[in-house]
């Protein structure tokens, strides 16, 4: 069992990294093309068909750049910071189920890298470590822009980590577990099941909405919104990209980085985008669950593929949403950002927990 | 999750303090800058809590699943804390106004510290002791640094915080070791285990008598430390017929843990080898806060100390008694001798508080019923007289902290005969002159020591009391027989006068009708 288990795990890791890294590469291109489209430009279209090889060219270019570490910088930490960022970005995906089970090598394989019982805690813990990468990068450069960027980002990240942690709690209360695959399983029943308990004056909703799947987004609309906003902040994406804030901080924490070390920050930002999209999908949008897919009469193997495809499509839609938001909204001012985090998101997510608690009591 | 109404009813004093604290915070947040309201609400909360504690003196019960033990013991201490708390609040008003620092946070912090103290006194579990100590200490750290713009105040807060955090570390490590050897943090459970653990410990008494728990380590743990494995030895130590080596290991760890717990608590009461923070902290902190620290915090630490000594260890512990006796003797000698050379009255009172910690510890070291009662009486008496003394110091203190030297009190009797008389009363009581409260406190404690065959401790106590009479009476002498210009700036606040009167009344009352 052990060897097979290890081999299977390695295979799953390869699949996940292949997906995430290729995804990140394509995303960089997609982002540039979409932004060009929004701004009525062409965007990169020369390297390969539709510019598809642009990212590969970028990586090669970054690899052959000179590695510049400023004399004033702390060399060890300067080297270490981007490594933290990318390690975190690449390992977070371990507990997210990207499909149900699949028949392979003569056994039913769960499509999740590490089936641990504390999945959500693991993700929160890694998010916490991720802060170090940016903070240390800002500090080690010994550059005023970098330091400001690093400080701002650590303040921002920890502020929004709170709302992120709090908005998940509603989901945990509903599903009663920290395992992400069980959270998904919990969302597969039709909504009509849980609607039986509705008071009589709301019973008319059952035929109207009962066919919907019981995705958590329907039970936790506030939690969903706060979680999505917090994810935007956690990935440093516009409108929350103050740590980078090109006009004021000339790049922020990675001002003093060149070559692939800069590339690692860049890569981890996009990998984080994919991971948090996958997390939103898993927690609130039913993960790999596609309503009615079971009733199509597909073979188990094909059904598994359909489920993986569903997951993929959901994540893609979210990622595109990320990109469109970036090129549509202006950036916050820093005081607005902190006010939103502490005075709106935090009370909102605590209120959400109390409301969920009351509703659950009434429900059962 | 079964908690009952009785849990809340039993802990009514505690919950009153909690509720008052929260209400004051809310009031302060809703309408900033109205400290008068906070003053009245906090005072009312303390008085209500104290009355509830008086009402609860008769009931004996455990609550929250055996975590807290409510009864005459805990309620007696709750009364002491509420008394000192309300007196501190009374003293503080005019003092803080004079320094332009009259803010609600002072009352909030006093309330929270008192909460921690009540928790400590009613604890029936090491975890609760820890929780109470932290709640109390964190509030006191901030209280010590309450005058944010004063260097002395900041210095005192920082010193207190750093050393206090260190002591907390000792305490927590000790709790961990006790838990490891006894298998529980609950007093009753440990109490049942303690005799077996103590009996099988192979250490000679002399090691422990050397005074430092570190020496326990040097006595050498058996090689089987790792192999023995804690849980096993715990189980076996609970039975009686067991291999001596492993039981000895559990016993050693238990003793080591107790030693560390005692170190942590000895720090909080400022007993001799762990007293270094006291003078600086007492000197720098705002005087009402100092008074509160010196009385209520010390009382709370003794509340926890007595709980641990009597409820947890029981009276079977010769080694622990000897350790405590050594600490007590050292505190008495050190505090009293150094106090002689102090010219600053706050520092003098700080050293005297070290000495008094020694007197009280000798009651605990005696480890008999008289000792326990004596310590409880002493705590109450000490709280009244010391708080009264600090109240008078707070009246005389001026902005630049100049008027703190004992010589500055010269001629006080001519200018303010009533205040001088009150201070003289407190000083006589601190020195242990009959028929005041201080005398009977010492009498009970030393009586307990004699009964426990610790006559040497009682002799040390009496001798050092004689030394202490010198510096206490010097203040009286300076006040009455030296010419000078001891001036009180501005008016003396009504509330402070009330506080002093209450203290003075109690000192006489406790003394005459013990």
């Amino acid at each position: 069992m052990d060897t097979t288990f290890v081999l299977l795990s390695i295979a799953k890791i390869a699949v996940v990294w292949g997906g995430v890294l290729t995804g990140a590469a394509i995303l960089v291109l997609a982002e540039r093309r979409i932004s060009a489209w929004i701004q009525n430009r062409l965007g990169p279209n020369r390297v390969g068909p539709f510019g598809l090889l642009q990212s590969a060219a970028d990586v090669v270019k970054l690899l052959f750049k000179e590695d510049i570490v400023p004399t004033a910088a702390n060399r060890f930490v300067h080297d270490f910071a981007p490594m933290i960022s990318i390690t975190v970005a690449l390992t977070t995906f371990a507990v997210i189920p990207f499909g149900d089970t699949i028949e392979a090598f003569g056994q039913n394989v769960k499509l999740i890298v590490a089936d641990v019982n504390i999945g959500m805690l693991y993700i929160l813990a890694l998010t916490g470590i991720g802060v170090y990468g940016i903070t240390l990068a800002g500090w080690s450069s010994n550059n005023k822009y970098s330091l400001l960027g690093g400080l701002r980002s650590s303040a921002q990240l920890i502020s929004y980590e709170l709302s992120m942690g709090l908005s998940i709690i509603g989901v945990i209360m509903i599903s009663g577990t920290l395992r992400l695959d069980e959270v998904v399983m919990h969302q597969t029943a039709p909504l009509a099941h849980s609607m039986q308990k509705l008071p009589s004056w709301l019973q008319w909703l059952i035929p109207v909405a009962g066919w919907l799947p019981s995705w958590n987004v329907f039970f936790q609309p506030i939690g969903f919104i706060t979680f999505v906003v917090a994810s935007f902040a956690e990935t440093n994406r516009l409108p929350f990209d103050l740590p980078e804030a090109e006009p004021e901080l000339v790049g922020g924490y990675h001002t003093e980085y060149t070559g692939m070390k800069f590339g690692l920050f860049f890569l981890s930002e996009y990998a984080n985008m994919i991971t948090s999209s996958a997390l939103i999908t898993t927690l609130f949008l039913g993960g790999w669950h596609l309503p009615f897919a079971e009733s199509w009469g597909l073979s188990p193997f094909a059904l598994s593929l359909v489920k993986i495809g569903t997951f993929f499509v959901k994540v893609t839609i979210l990622v595109v949403f990320y990109i469109i938001v970036r090129w549509t909204l202006p950036r916050f001012r820093y005081d607005q950002l902190m006010r939103l985090g502490w005075k709106v998101m935090l009370p909102l997510s605590i209120a959400n927990i109390l409301a969920t608690g009351l509703l659950l009591l009434w429900w059962s | 999750m079964g908690f009952q109404i009785s849990d809340i009813a039993n802990n009514a004093p505690l919950f009153t303090l909690v509720a008052t604290g929260l209400v004051v915070i809310l009031l302060e947040s809703a309408k900033s800058g109205k400290p008068n309201v906070s003053f009245i609400v906090s005072l009312a909360g303390f008085i209500l809590s104290g009355l509830l504690a008086v009402g609860g003196l008769k009931t004996e019960d455990v609550s929250f699943g055996g975590m807290l033990m409510n009864g005459s013991y805990s309620n007696f201490f709750a009364i002491v804390f509420c008394l000192t708390g309300s007196l501190t609040i009374l003293i503080s008003k005019s003092y803080l106004e004079r320094f332009g620092q009259f803010r609600s946070e002072f009352y909030i912090l006093v309330l929270f510290a008192a909460m921690g103290m009540v928790l400590m006194a009613s604890a029936n579990d090491l975890i609760i002791i820890f929780l109470g100590i932290e709640l109390m200490s964190v509030s006191l750290y901030v209280l010590a640094g309450f005058f944010r713009t004063q260097d002395r105040s900041n210095e005192s807060a920082l010193k207190y915080f750093l050393l206090g955090a260190f002591a907390t570390g000792f305490l927590l490590y000790g709790i961990a070791l006790v838990y490891g050897s006894a298998g529980s943090t609950n007093f009753s459970v440990i109490h049942n285990q303690a005799p077996a653990l103590m009996k099988n410990q192979p250490l000679p008494d002399s090691v422990v008598q050397a005074g430092l728990p570190d020496s326990v380590v040097q006595a050498g743990l058996p090689d089987s430390v790792v192999q023995a494995g804690l849980p096993d030895s715990v189980v076996q130590a609970g039975d009686s017929g067991l291999p001596a080596g492993q039981a000895g290991l559990a016993g050693t760890i238990f003793l080591l843990g107790l030693g560390l717990v005692i170190v942590g608590l000895a720090f909080k009461v400022a007993a001799a080898p762990f007293h270094m923070w006291a003078p600086d902290v007492y000197d720098g902190a705002p005087t009402p806060a100092t008074g509160f620290m010196a009385t209520a915090a010390k009382a709370a630490a003794f509340g926890a100390f007595v709980s641990i000594a009597f409820k947890m260890i029981g009276s079977t512990s010769g080694t622990i008694s000897n350790l405590l006796a050594v600490i007590a003797a050292a505190s008495m000698i050190l505090g009293n001798v150094i106090a002689i050379s102090q010219s600053n009255i706050k520092r003098m009172l700080a050293y005297s508080s070290i000495a008094h910690a020694g007197y009280m510890l000798s009651g605990i070291a005696a480890a008999n019923v008289e000792g326990q009662a004596g310590v409880m009486y002493y705590v109450a008496a000490y709280a009244c007289m010391t708080l009264g003394a600090f109240a008078i110091v707070s009246i005389l203190e001026r902005d630049d902290a100049a008027n703190l030297s004992i010589d500055g009190y010269a001629g006080l009797s001519a200018k303010h005969p009533v205040i001088a008389a009150a201070l003289a009363l407190f000083m006589f009581s601190l020195a242990g002159i009959p028929p005041l409260a201080g005398f009977f406190g010492k009498y009970y404690v030393f009586l307990a020591a004699v009964k426990a065959d610790m006559t040497w401790l009682a002799i040390v106590g009496v001798l050092t009391s004689l030394i202490s009479a010198y510096y206490y009476l010097r203040v009286v002498v300076v006040m009455y027989f030296k010419e000078g210009e001891a001036a009180v700036e501005g008016r003396i606040g009504m509330s402070t006068v009330v506080a002093i009167a209450v203290c003075a009344y109690l000192v006489v009352q406790l003394g005459v009708y013990p």
């Binding site: 507990v95 450069s141 009351l358 | -």
Partner: protein
Amino acid sequence: MIESYIPIFIMIVGAMGFAVVMGKMNEFVGPKRPSEEKLSTYESGMEPVRSARERFSVKFYMVAMLFIVFDIEVVFLYPWAVSYKLLGTPGFITMFVFIAVLLVGYFYVWRKGALEWD
């Protein structure tokens, strides 16, 4: 139980390897033509003035402290949330009291202006 963490371990080791290789690659394959100008700290073309590691606003510390307070609350909420359906009404009341006490502090901090940033 513990073996479900093996894949995570493999993944972390792999990711670290990837990170180290990629992060150090430039040192080996990139050109090395350092100059004093190039290695000086970037400050929009100006000569760098003083070190960057000086004192910064106390507000960052405030945020960090508040974060710890609330993050510990979150940590307490997790086990409670997992077993919420077992705990029922007493569980809700207990946690409600806990959160209410924290909200009093939150209200205080808000009114005292610790959350203002300007």
